[in-house]
Amino acid sequence: MSWSGAIPERILPAPSQIIQAGIDLTITGELSEHMGISLWRALVGFLIGGIAGFVFGLLNGVFRFADLIFDTSIQMLRNIPHLALIPLVIMWFGIGESSKVFLVALGVLFPVYINTYHGIKSIDKKLIEMGKAYGLNGKELFFQIILPGAMSSILVGIRFSLGVMWLTLIVAETISAQSGIGYMAMNAREFMQMDVIVLSIIIYALFGKISDMIARYFEGKLLKWNN
């Protein structure tokens, strides 16, 4: 419809124009630069937040002591929408890399934490008792019963957090950045480059799709016994 002119270019550009914009930006090297920086932020933020959430989830799930100290505090912080912290984060970190990474990490932390914690708490106590009766020590008990028992729940947390990861990154890049796909889209708006804006949105969709596929691949591999 954009081709035929039924929809004006200002509203929605034709697919051919979007592809052309993609090719142009690839030639200038802009696209790969922005994509690279966005991926890097997503990955680093995801790793930091994911590992922190996983470790806290494990600690609080396994040790009652840690549970009593940390769980309610984490639940309290979880209720603050992390995107509401953007003004504060800009004051702290400026609009450099650390602010984006921090926001992504914060967003990713909670879903991973909750699901790891819940996964460990909901393991069948009878299996743990059986493990003890069969002479497993603490380490064996953890790696052979607790961790695999919590794995499906942990993976749900990871898949969920991937969505949060992209969402946070897009918002953060759109509001405060000088590079990245979100910045590219905001910049294009100033020059009325509709094709670049749509291209950015499509790239985000592809990123989301690919990361979900990776997560599903690991799910299939780690939860083979469940099928």
Binding site: K126, L127, E129, M130, G131, K132, A133, Y134, G135, L136, E140, Q144, I145, P148, G149, M151, L223, K224, W225, N226
Partner: protein, 266 residues
Amino acid sequence: MNSYDLQGVDVTIHQVKKKYDKREVLKGLDLQIKEGEFVAIVGKSGCGKSTLLRLVAGLENMNDGSIKLDGTPLNGLNKQARMMFQDGRLLPWKRVMDNVCLGLSSDAKNRAMQAITQVGLKERIHDYPSKLSGGQKQRVALARALVHDPSLLLLDEPLGALDALTRLEMQRLIESLWLERKFTSILVTHDVEEAVAISDRVILIEDGKVTLNQPIHLTRPRQRTNPAFSMYVEEILARIMNRKSKKNYSMLVNTEMESLFDPVNN
């Protein structure tokens, strides 16, 4: 013959008491089990028979009394014993082989393989438990218990959830492995026929105490069609139901009474 350490353990249970909150489940229970003996414990649900087994396994602490293994008081987990649970408790994320290898050192694959072969599941070693039937799962659980060469095998209603045919098969399997290895064995069951079919002695627990101690003098393999077999079953059931015990085994079983007992038992 195999090179097993063919030895059971002597179990002496003396004045054992166990309370949950205020409710006293075992009220000073005494029981002596000889090395290599197969004892079946029956009783109504909630009578404390499973609790007793858990105490012998060292999974729970008693409030009073003592349990001695070959004269040594049990303290903490009973390392000579292996338990088979009613619900199998296989790890769903481990294949049959890895389930049997649980708690074994990594060089014990041969022994695990031998145990799996003995329970007749050699072809299924690479399957996950979700692919197995109820009876096969319990076979794996049995192999997992036996691979440790326990001197005491504790069976907590392991056949309760199986269908009648599989149950018979499993009873024979357990009996034959016990005859071969001569470990001491305690079976908790609510099935009096099963108790008579497999054990040297049937113990009845009522109100936290042993109220019947009935040796079974039948030659193995035992025939359920044997009149003496039915007599034992009838006698013990009558005792459980608090009916007057018949002193004379040669008396014929009243068919009316039998039909009274059956629904309770099954």
